[in-house]
Symmetry: C2
Subunit: 256 residues, 2 copies
């Protein structure tokens, strides 16, 4: 991604390439967060972790500086969202650890290729995301709800959506729920906590995937004193083809 050129959401950008969620935390919180990620693999598939103070990706997009590669970031202080900058160089500290997590945008090309609708792309908006009543597995000081993204599907295509996305374990894999939103604690599909609402066509079923915004809900609920994340839908675009993510992800935490 060229620096500062794009500040909108990345839902349909760079077709075929994997996208990633971003969480940057002080090292004091890094163990709790890594454990949170490992305990919530479907919501937080870890793709790459940088050493404290190192802002440069080694695996997902070698040489890319995490401080200006995303179109929009979020700054969190004490669990409160305080700013949405397009560059975070002025916020950088030597104790900051960057985590890249898989993103469901990575399987949307495969959904479309299989004939499945991707409504927010059709509408040119961000994917709708919701906080659920399902708790994420806590880790140390971190706790919070599972956040999900939603894509409406005709009922006869729900199984296909499971099959296609199931091949992308490093991008949240298959859905966690399909059908009545109330069952997972979502009161109103038209009022997502993150992203934009989308139209449901008559007879369509809402299909929900675990979402990489789950860490943002956790750091808010846990009142983490300092954190930087991507702005929902404004992702880190990698140099890795979405279908290669599984193999590459094996390397991702390591140089081994």
């Amino acid at each position: 991604m060229a620096r500062g050129e794009i500040t909108g959401n990345t839902a349909s950008l760079c077709p075929g390439y994997a996208q990633a969620n971003l969480v940057i935390l002080p090292k004091d919180w890094a163990f709790d967060f890594l454990l949170f990620g490992l305990r919530n693999k479907q919501a937080c598939p870890i793709l790459e972790i940088l050493d404290a103070g190192d802002p440069v990706s080694k695996i997902l997009a070698p040489g890319a500086d995490v401080r200006d590669e995303l179109p929009r970031y979020r700054l969190w202080l004490g669990g409160e969202l305080v700013d949405e900058p397009t560059d975070i160089r002025h916020l950088w500290r030597e104790d900051l650890v960057s985590f890249y997590l898989g993103c469901s945008f990575s399987f949307e090309d495969a959904l479309k290729a299989a004939g499945l609708p991707v409504r927010h792309q059709e509408m040119g908006v961000n994917v709708p995301m919701y906080r659920t009543k399902l708790p994420a597995a806590p880790a140390g000081r971190l706790h919070g709800p599972l956040v999900v993204s939603m894509r409406p599907m005709p009922p006869d295509l729900v199984e296909k959506a499971h099959l296609v996305s199931g091949d992308f374990a490093e991008a949240h894999g298959q859905p966690v729920h399909a059908g009545d939103p109330a069952e997972i604690g979502i009161a109103d599909l038209d009022r997502p906590e993150y992203g934009d609402p989308v139209h449901m066509h008559p007879g369509e079923v809402p299909v929900f995937w675990a979402c990489g915004v789950t860490p943002q809900a956790a750091l808010a609920a846990s009142r983490v004193e300092f954190a930087i994340t991507h702005a929902p839908g404004h992702m880190f675009i990698t140099d890795i083809k979405a279908e290669d993510l599984g193999g590459k992800a094996l390397l991702a935490c390591g140089r081994s």
Copy 2:
């Protein structure tokens, strides 16, 4: 394992059940170590991680207290080995994080079932383990050499050893080297840094597997101020069948 009843090595104990390496570190070192483990998956396949201050396994052997379940431990201060106690209750602190890592003893039954020799079991001794000249991938403050275990094999069975152990990715998987020990920096097979030497039969080839003692070499090289590990060969015996380790290990870092 019953408390205090066994203080010898566990190489042939509880056939069929997975065994685990143990590393206990202050939380200040936990992120560095978890990253070290993820970056060195073959040497450090992570099976379970407990929260800081929690000594009780949830997955590998539910209810087992890590402080007296192993036959013998090692206490490390400033990277120096200072004691080999059989119980660590007196050393416990609320900031200690326990990591369980896969162990090659877990695939030895499968090797034997496939007609492959397991010499140290035949001899009733501990497996020989060596520091190599191959560096482990560093992580934060942690660095050190790859440690390997060795089992001699007739040359025509080396490929079979690869195939059989390759099915146990959570227990170090296939060998990292077979043949000339000098190629990986081992000067004398009769003088292992850990465990016991074993007889090589005429014509046999030494076969080397990544070893869960690698973290011990790293915490010594990195002069970690406080650490507790298993004593080499004196493992945590789990309630999980070795062949189920892969599936269970998916859960292992998490309750998800």
